[in-house]
Amino acid sequence: MSKRLRSILTPIIAVLLGIIVGTIIMLVSGYNPVDAYTALWNGAFGDVYYTGEVIRQVTPYILAGLAVAFAFRVGLFNIGVEGQFIVGWLAAVWVGVAFDLPKVIHLPLAIIAAMVAGGLWAFIPGLLKARFRVHEVIVTIMMNYTALHTVNYIIRTKLNQGSAKTGMIHESASLRSPWLQELTTHSTMHWGIMIAIACCFIMWFLLEKTTRGFELRAVGFNQDAAHYAGMSVNKNIILSMVISGAFAGIAGAMEGLGTFGYMAVQGGFTGVGFNGIAVALLGGNTALGVFFSALLFGSLKIGALSMPLEAGVPKELVDIIIALIVFFVASSYIIRVVLDRFSKKGVK
């Protein structure tokens, strides 16, 4: 079996296994799985409105997935996407509220602000890793909390426009489009998906086609050989964290400039950053893979909203199915071994 086919089959089998185990759980707890999965499907694709919602949900998932995947390709585990996402969101909203500029300047400026904020937030763990070999996982986890509480504090004390949220961004910084909303019978779909797709392309191009990507991947595979070849390992570590954080920051901008148009005090983590880890894993840390796995996660998330009403299945069950899929992906090693067995027998 070719490596390529195997890398495509593995996530598909993982998803199927998650669905099968989900079926069993539903049967055991007395729900009708056919009704439930029909509701899930219709809730995601049964109507253009729902599809619009799915696309809106997929947008930050793609970007968060890219963020995790990018760092991973350089051998770093960026658990801090959640924090970088939150600071990116605030930065975008702040620019959206505080300035009044023509759209061609204002919108890019707001997105760039989110990139810079996310990038800076990730720069700190990158620097600590490069200079002092402090493990990035610990630093980024801690910085998630720092981001959450700092951002909440700023919203509450500096940007509060009543009911613990910022004011609405100006129209000139918004990603929303009446045309898209019309098209999807008033869903919250916005232009962000274009940016997310563009970022997929950018990540692929950067890693696979540029000299910088050549260095980044070399550092990810073999730091000693990269050093031998005259590449700066430390510089590439920091850079990869910054780029990863910038992707996460853009993900935040999608929520701030597209979905909500403001930022409210967050009661806890949004989960987008953590889902990004699962998205990247399922997508095999490639740009294209991240795109498809984000699509899956977004569809599940939106489709699940219909399950309680249509099929009487608690929404929590969908969370369990998602968790199962992640579980099977994380243990994809097992699937790979089984696939190997099959292909070996095939040769005989």
Partner: protein, 511 residues
């Protein structure tokens, strides 16, 4: 017949690639049977079949005359087959005994009976003359000792048949002698040995019979006492091999590398290069002879920018390079064939083509404005693959998939192609077969003849004496003597490497 192992007409394929094609190997009880072949000839595959790691497509394995089916290494162990791996499988932080009993612990009441285990280990060690301290920690003992622990491990598990996979590749000349002694003791005690190697000298010295394989095919089995190294080499390579590397006298010119009073510390902070002076001229090969651990690795790392030097001066073509990054040093005309090709030399997960431009990817024509030009990269790779006879299915193949010799050829191709004024070759032929060694030596001499300076570091005295124009002996981080290879002997070098001074060494050899 009294064969303990018979592998009859073994065939093993990977995809469409035939790694073993109809190979027969019969091991008599109490003999040392060498398995000879070039890198990638299929020696390891054959042994992995015997050890149960691979299943053959065709053929039969018999142990003591009975056909067996070895589906995993545990079964091999039960049949009394033990493998001494080339890359040791030891836990550094454990003691010798703990490593040996790992997976086969003696317990009493749920606790490991370490006392009893130590006693057993000591008994086996004494019986076979291994002289291993059962209480020593693996990280504290020498590589040679670690290898003996591997041998002990197989004996502890009751092995009757021992497979040695390239056992001398990591040893010093002294340790090799001791290992040969150990192997002879093992035979005396009734064990049988399969020795995987491509060192003809060792086969001549220790083996009774030798099975030769070439490109996956069994060429035949010869009795060692009735053959000679030349015959073995041509059987292995399939053509005549020149042993003495042909070369004209050198015509050295100006200094290319000048090192003065170099001081380098190792990772633990111990000064391992301690006031080293050396110069290498254009058009000569200087060989560094020394026992492993006398500062050679750190010395090379310091001149190539992989390690910081404490003090001193490193000049290439008169330009001070002390404290420069490896990129700057590379650009100043230094080529480096690193000692460890997996750690430093290659990004194993990159295609062979991308490894060919590992230091030049940012230059034209391989990239422009930061965008890689894959067409040029693959063109370059194809040229080098052809010129340096790198045997690979394609330039897209991952470096990981190539055999050691071909990986090394790829590195040498890359380094030579950059046309450096100074070529540093650290153990360039380690673990390679005669064909590849011959090729690499020729290339080094060719560089010299083109007026380049070549610095060769090797633990193989043969190689140093054969290839070098001058030999510098390193001992405890200093060059203690510089000798002419034509006027010295292995014995004199051996003594110098062990720290005797020139005069003593000279006297002893003359007595």
């Amino acid at each position: 017949m009294d064969y303990v192992i018979e592998m009859l007409n073994i065939r093993k394929e990977f995809g469409g690639f035939v790694a073993n094609d109809n190979i027969t190997l019969q091991l008599k009880k109490g003999e040392i049977h060498a398995l000879l072949g070039e890198n990638g000839a299929g020696k390891s595959t054959l042994m992995n079949v015997l050890f149960g790691l691979y299943q053959p497509e065709q053929g039969e394995i018999r142990v003591k005359g009975k056909p067996v089916h070895i589906s995993n290494p545990n079964i091999a162990n039960e049949l009394g087959i033990g493998m001494v791996h080339q890359h040791f499988m030891l836990v550094d932080k454990f003691t010798v005994t703990e490593n040996i009993i790992l997976g086969k612990e003696i317990t009493s009441g749920g606790q490991i009976n370490i006392k009893k285990a130590e006693k057993e280990v000591r008994e086996i060690s004494e019986r076979y003359g291994l002289a291993v301290d059962p209480q020593a920690r693996i990280s504290d003992i020498t590589v040679g000792m670690q290898q003996r622990v591997e041998i002990l491990k197989t004996l502890y598990r009751g092995a009757e048949i021992l497979i040695f996979d390239e056992p001398t590749a990591v040893l010093t000349p002294q340790e090799i002698k001791e290992l040969i002694q150990i192997m002879k003791t093992l035979i005396k005690e009734g064990k049988s040995i399969i020795l995987i190697t491509h060192k003809l000298k060792e086969i001549m010295e220790v083996a009774d019979r030798c099975t030769v394989i070439r490109k996956g095919k069994g060429i035949g089995t010869v009795t060692v006492s009735e053959t000679n190294p030349n015959e073995l080499a041509s059987l292995m390579v399939g053509r005549e091999v020149v042993f003495k590397t042909e070369k004209t006298p050198s015509t050295p010119k100006q200094d290319v590398l000048e090192i003065k009073d170099l001081v380098v510390k190792d990772t633990r902070g111990v000064t391992v290069v301690n006031g080293l002076d050396l110069h290498v001229r254009a058009g000569e090969i200087v060989g560094i002879a020394g026992i492993d651990g006398n500062g050679q690795s750190e010395f090379i790392e310091a001149i190539t920018g992989l390690r910081k030097s404490e003090s001193g001066s490193i000049k290439v073509n008169g330009k001070e390079l002390m404290g420069f990054s490896s990129r700057k040093i590379t650009e100043s005309g230094v080529g480096h064939i690193p000692q460890d090709r997996h750690k430093h030399g290659l990004v194993l997960n990159y295609p062979i083509a991308e490894n060919m431009v590992l230091q030049t990817y940012y230059k034209k024509p391989f990239s422009k404005n930061g965008i890689l030009n894959f067409k040029e990269i693959y063109n370059k790779a194809r040229t080098l693959i052809k010129e340096f006879d790198v045997r690979t299915p394609s330039e897209y193949t991952l470096a990981r998939a190539l055999s050691g010799g071909n990986q090394q050829k790829a590195i040498i191709g890359r380094e030579v192609d950059r046309n450096p004024d100074l070529l540093i070759a650290a153990q360039p032929t380690r673990g390679l077969d005669v064909g590849a060694i011959e090729f690499i030596h020729k290339r080094l001499i060719e560089q010299r003849d083109h007026g380049k300076a070549v610095l060769l570091v090797s633990f193989e005295l043969d190689e140093i004496i054969n290839v070098s124009d001058r030999i510098a002996v390193i001992y405890e981080g200093k060059i203690v003597a510089v000798v002419n290879p034509k006027e010295t002997t292995e014995q004199e070098l051996g003594l110098l490497m062990a720290g005797s001074n020139r005069k003593e060494a000279g006297e002893e050899t003359h007595v």
